[in-house]
Symmetry: C2
Subunit: 358 residues, 2 copies
């Protein structure tokens, strides 16, 4: 029996990936030119599938990068002329804030303790070019209620809203009118091998980047945002991309459409409920996030304290690989991914095991 | 029968890749954390294997990027405070030159027509921070004789020498004392799926980057050269990398060691000789590069003129996929990769087919 990975990312591959990888080898996908019609066809398929899967509005463009973390730098270059605001309640929100400051731009942050949400009702009365927030903090298991994102839009109508949905896309049902950019990694809820970032930008973001470029403020690189967008319009990339990754993305999003996004989302809610309900009644463990409205559906964090390594080892003996706490919480928490590839049966088995843990 | 890809990159996968990919799936390699000991172990294996394979001196460090083309930007940020010099005799040398200028740095270029070499004997008498040259121009099939690289070192002892070996590493037997950096893509002579760049830097380069950083001149990003080097020393990367790509790199370099680099290099010379000899005597085709000393062993460019599409189609009907000309030579030339994965038998068949072409 193979290990089942409940790690928050890289995580278990979507259950159809192995099949598609074998098909790709048969068809020589890794050898086709990224300038060929074959490549353009599966880039187009990837885009069209994602559009269908998450009901992406027409004014959003998909571009591929090599990772989500490089998008922070590209956003800073393209969109921050004055100042950015960052809602920081975990490691990843904090990393974007640090990138902006390290690049010599001005940035404000509103911080909240890990496990909580920044106070959206008490944000600075300042003009920002861009606001960065994390829908689903992979480090803490806190999700941002979607209504808060809409509230940001109302308070800062001029700012671009950049939403990190690294560990929740495509499971989360976003209102894309409340954001200008959404970005994700494929090695999390998409269930794909690491090495590809997904960046969705609307026309407003594109126009801001073009305006920056016209003013000579956009760093001119091969892979900056205007270059990525211009190439993506023709289902191309500025240089040789992770071709196999884009092919697998097209195929897996197609499989997810066939399964039905509503089904995937409902399954996710069911699996999260099993786990949180069990944890709420556990003898020695508890959910890290106290406020039930903030508990992530896709990243479930267990406050396991000194029992952390014992719990991880116990699960590993049963071929279930869970994640350690992130950063300062390493050795103090266990993180469990609840992604579309994790079946209800696997999750029930995992919850049963954890329930018996002492 | 599957197609055989003689395209210059992406090209045919190394013949063991399919096996290793299946093993990786069985072992859950795509799901392991990039902070795990498992990951560190195959990063270490990749480094150790490459060191053995190309006889890399101890003072060189291997870092992985997502592509070779992003290295141009990182080198500009890290090493060009004053001015760089670029020896431009094809598209890829020209792209690096353009990146430096686009980033607002000073750069000189010495240009040569496609198919020829810049005049190394008549270079500017100026001080440069960095000199960029291409060992093997993938766009033209011209190789730079290794003695010319040593001559550069003598003329510019202070400059860092950055050698693009994108389509010749690990086949070329470099003198690493004549360079400070060498970089390559894995989808060419390594025979791996695209989505990984290989960057070798010596201590001198590392110290220059640190000096730039101390002066506040190094752009502070998550993935700049000092961050990549510091992480690589612990067999780590700043953010989630192409984990599967690094695993496959470790395995394929191991296979190449088992086969023997001398054997690989001798096979390459034999295959190139077959092709060039046939082309020299062909009725309607000829090698693009006139000077035999400049003819690349790994990228063989055929001057096919108006017959280009006819030749490509003719080969494709025999399941042999060759590359079109690059950029301005599209539709006028055919490019053939001669990489370690291409067997002598495949090459003989290909040469026989081309010989019969009219």
């Amino acid at each position: 029996m193979r290990n089942v990975y409940f790690t928050p990312g890289p995580s278990a591959l979507y259950f159809t990936v192995e099949h598609h990888l074998k098909q790709a080898l048969k068809q020589g996908i890794a050898s086709v030119s990224h300038r060929s019609d074959t490549f353009k066809a599966f880039f187009a398929e990837a885009e069209s599938n994602l559009r269908t899967l998450v009901q992406l509005p027409d004014d959003y463009q998909l571009v591929f990068t090599h990772s989500a973390s490089e998008i922070w730098e590209k956003m800073t270059d393209a969109f921050v002329a004055g100042k950015s605001l960052h809602l920081v309640n975990g490691a990843f929100a904090g990393k974007f804030y640090k990138v902006v400051k390290d690049l010599g731009k001005q940035a404000d942050s509103v911080e909240a303790p890990w496990g909580e949400l920044p106070r959206y009702a008490a944000l600075p009365d300042t003009e920002y070019d861009l606001i960065g927030l994390v829908h689903n903090e992979t480090s803490t298991g806190v999700k941002t209620p979607l209504a808060e994102i809409g509230r940001l839009r109302q308070q800062y109508p001029e700012a671009l809203i950049a939403l990190d949905a690294v560990s929740s896309l495509p499971v989360v049902d976003l209102n894309y009118a409340d954001t200008d950019m959404v970005y994700a990694s494929v090695q999390k809820a998409f269930g794909l091998p690491a090495g590809l970032g997904v960046w969705l930008l609307n026309d407003r973001a594109r126009q801001r980047a073009m305006a920056m470029e016209q003013k000579g403020l956009l760093r001119q690189t091969l892979h900056n945002v205007t270059s990525l967008i211009n190439q993506a319009k023709n289902h191309q990339t500025p240089s040789t991309p992770n071709i196999l990754g884009i092919y697998l993305f097209a195929k897996v999003t197609g499989d997810m459409i066939d399964r039905g996004i509503r089904q995937i989302r409902n399954d996710g809610i069911y699996k999260a409920a099993i786990m949180y309900n069990m944890l709420d009644q556990h003898d020695v463990l508890r959910p890290f996030v106290q406020d039930k409205a903030l508990r992530s559906d896709t990243i479930i964090v267990i406050d396991s304290g000194p029992r952390t390594h014992h719990l991880l080892d116990y699960l590993a003996r049963h071929k279930m690989i869970a994640g350690n706490g992130y950063g300062k919480m390493k050795g103090k928490q266990v993180r469990i991914a609840n992604f579309p590839t994790h079946s209800k049966e696997q999750f029930e088995m995992l919850a049963d095991l954890i329930e018996k843990f002492k």
